[in-house]
Symmetry: C3
Subunit: 420 residues, 3 copies
Amino acid sequence: MHDFAWELFPICRSLTGEGVRQTLARIKKELPDLRLVEVPSGTKCFDWEVPREWNIQDAWIIDPDGNKIVDFKKNNLHVVGYSIPVVGEFTLEELQPHLFSLSDQPTAIPYITSYYREFWGFCMTDILRKSLKPGKYKTKIESRLTQGHLTYGELLIPGRSKKEIFLSTYVCHPSMANNELSGPAVTTWLAKWILKNTDRRFSYRIVFIPETIGSIVYLSRHAEELKSKMLAGYVISCVGDERTYSYLPSRHGNTLTDRVSIRALKEHAPDFIRYSFLDRGSDERQYCSPGIDLPVALITRSKFGAYPEYHTSLDDLNFVTAAGLQGAFEIYTKCIKALEASERFQATILCEAQLGKRGLYPTIGTKNSALATRVVSNLLAFSDGNYDLQDIAEKLGMTTSELRPTVARLLEEKLLKEVD
Amino acid sequence: MHDFAWELFPICRSLTGEGVRQTLARIKKELPDLRLVEVPSGTKCFDWEVPREWNIQDAWIIDPDGNKIVDFKKNNLHVVGYSIPVVGEFTLEELQPHLFSLSDQPTAIPYITSYYREFWGFCMTDILRKSLKPGKYKTKIESRLTQGHLTYGELLIPGRSKKEIFLSTYVCHPSMANNELSGPAVTTWLAKWILKNTDRRFSYRIVFIPETIGSIVYLSRHAEELKSKMLAGYVISCVGDERTYSYLPSRHGNTLTDRVSIRALKEHAPDFIRYSFLDRGSDERQYCSPGIDLPVALITRSKFGAYPEYHTSLDDLNFVTAAGLQGAFEIYTKCIKALEASERFQATILCEAQLGKRGLYPTIGTKNSALATRVVSNLLAFSDGNYDLQDIAEKLGMTTSELRPTVARLLEEKLLKEVD
Amino acid sequence: MHDFAWELFPICRSLTGEGVRQTLARIKKELPDLRLVEVPSGTKCFDWEVPREWNIQDAWIIDPDGNKIVDFKKNNLHVVGYSIPVVGEFTLEELQPHLFSLSDQPTAIPYITSYYREFWGFCMTDILRKSLKPGKYKTKIESRLTQGHLTYGELLIPGRSKKEIFLSTYVCHPSMANNELSGPAVTTWLAKWILKNTDRRFSYRIVFIPETIGSIVYLSRHAEELKSKMLAGYVISCVGDERTYSYLPSRHGNTLTDRVSIRALKEHAPDFIRYSFLDRGSDERQYCSPGIDLPVALITRSKFGAYPEYHTSLDDLNFVTAAGLQGAFEIYTKCIKALEASERFQATILCEAQLGKRGLYPTIGTKNSALATRVVSNLLAFSDGNYDLQDIAEKLGMTTSELRPTVARLLEEKLLKEVD
């Protein structure tokens, strides 16, 4: 995953444009069934409309001494996202309103965008900005804003049930690692892992979209379908550093997604930080909005907005590590396994089954004969169709994996049946 | 309010009679739309019937030395309420069964009534009683018990909604201040304050009734209407001293009235005393009775039965103060404001609104742009028609007043609509 | 009860056979209306079928020296339950797979059965077993397995309501005292106590059955009836020693049975041990199974499996005492009284009743008049048909017995009526 993130890192992504297409094309190499969808500029979606497509070739500033002090080709964060084209000579004073830096992070280039108002600008370290001398600065942004398309990728993986587990990640940030490349990297590898297991109970819907406008576009086309099919869902973002694990619940906070995630985190990373829905910031804003109300939550490592490198050039592939990505991948696989295991069973016969005649109970009754088959009889006793396997496992102080062999045996004996 | 209470103080009120009419007439000067209702003696109301009307002109006792030792005209508490007429000379021994005093409060004249059994009697300080010498006492009570009416006042103040906030207070006690004149005083001033605000969301129903029989009469005529319309209600009584604040919940204890009141008290008077419904004693006994079950509670200062001056001549306008009345007035206005603010809103569009195009979101996206409009987006995110504004305010750690400007702006932008 | 247990102790009971019939016949002497039911071998009941009837006349082992070292007539635990007949001479080596003893309880004869697989065996102390020398052992079990019947007893005691309280105990263990004779002894005495009270609100259904197969047989015939009629139920077992009290809840854990039992135990034996349904082991396994779901729980003294004497010859009538039985009897009578008291009342008139005209309220109103009739008015105020008498008693900080006289008076005054 870390190598994959390195490959994607240099691409200049934004809400729209060739950077998104290149990124999705690279993901499609890993996931050949990824369907790429183009949505024309100007398409209405709820309160929004798809913006013009933005593409950029080059951008720089040459200082009065002739030094190219800012160069888009060296770091695509140097240009404000969606900058309109500009070419000319400006005094430092004229340039200042178009410059962005962070006085409290002087070595960081900030990430700045102006998607919905025409503007141009440059981002740089505060050290550089403070060193600028008066004089004429040659300035160029070679970009285009055209009627084009917003591009997203969608992968549907069928399972035995039409009920879906939903994974959503975004592909609209330029060269930053935790927010965002950790997201597509972990999501791609999760998709590959899901595809490897051909005995899927649930179906999977995995989307790679630009943030905000992308989820709004997707919901404007698929909200009803998602509402009827989604069992559980995640926005996968900020899943690459090693500092911590975090949880940001769905709006209602008590969905199956929430229950399964909290359980998994308690086991996998008991010191995880619990955020409130008030701390939200990504596409869960749309998925959980009133009237949409999907059971979507986030398991992150350092959450967006909660680490100093966030939205700066410091959010790089040193901050994000192979181990960090792997940790997130593992916790998500745990959740998916738990979701796959969230089935409900029902005992097929009234009263206890006669286990002895099926070789499931010792034929000699002693002081301890009940203990020997405790798991079998407890599993049957709680399989009333209301508790799911995870609930029963918790009651018995076991894991669902530990229960699996017994479930399989009882299904085979037709003493249990799965209920919907 | 304190001056108003002084004006009403000397009037000899009882369940019925001219004292009640004079009191209501004085209130009607403040509230010209107050409707006065006369209910004939003998009218059946549930298990009860309206008693005969009681009026009294004079009453006194002259001791063997010719001194008028007890004089109704000096203090109307001297006569047992609903005393039948009497005139004659009695030995002290004959008189004793008709005398009431309090050995543990020797300077207090107790308040005694005998509404439903024919009786006559006098109340006096225990000091006086103990000083009485044997001999003949000339005794006179000039009262009448006649087929007449029970009188109450009702004020309906319309609002945008037919749902009502209900205030009930009583006007049936002679010269006592906390229990009772604080009640009509605070209620009258609340009514004036409600009338001043012409943009009322809810309608108001305010009644000035004799206690117990008055609320039973009122319920016998209006129970179904109250049950269908009442959003929240209060019995306003014992709201004039400065010692404490108290809360007596509705029978179920978890109505909107209860929630709003507890919130207001926690903020306004965190040391308030929490009583149980078992400590009830006024018209909440009727309003909360099985089958009536209205959401009626009480915020009091020193609650009836819980202060030594209760039902004695010591419950006067020194015990009740202007500041005491004002404190109660303020907590009730807080509750009414909170009730008026208990509206539910619904976001009008699916997914987040595009705030930028409405000037509600910075057009430049930075590390912190989400924070700038946190209140707007949180308010929209929780406006699903289920949470009321108070709930949302609590979620956001804010007050409803702090949320109001944002609510107004979003209503104006038609991003929110009120739901019923 | 202890004497009664002594009488039953020597009988060799098993799932079926003459021992069960003798036991039921002895119980019927105490409870003449006990109905004895015979169910033929081979009868299908859910997943099970009634086994052949087992009867045994004699069994022994004679050692190489000619000593009868094991003698069924001295202790019926010596023979594995449901042993097929055998007669012959065996070497010690040949005999060993048919011998049972407990190395960690060398002085105890274990209780062993082989109901559903043909087998024969002997149980003995480990001391004896370890002393056995090589040589030929004459061995005889004089038993018969025949097409016969399973026998159980059922006693229906009618009450005013068709709703039933259910007591189930078992009669299938040979000479052991806590598990099992304490059960039939306490249950028989409870039945006698119930019959003595002729003003029963509820009906009672009391069954004396063989464990497991007996309750399955009973449910296969009566499940729907039990489901529609059962208000609360108990399996009465292990109710004879003095060590502790214990509670094993119903599967859902929150039924009326559970609520009433926990209340009674907290009062009667606050140090009682609380088990989980996972610790179940007797007929509650059937009564609480999915799709049956009856409100059945257990109050025991030392619970089956939780005391070292369990299922050995050490579980005798020294371990079980008269005081131990009496303690269990008392806690069950408390529960039954509480269940009988779990009626719901409804006030018959809206608003408060006029208590004065019924002599229930002082006619002179003073500071304290409300206190005098607090119980009456509180009882009426909470009698809305939702709270049962126990709930109201708890609200008022009283016991139901303390409330009874007031209930009776208010029923007489027709101010209260019972609701179903």
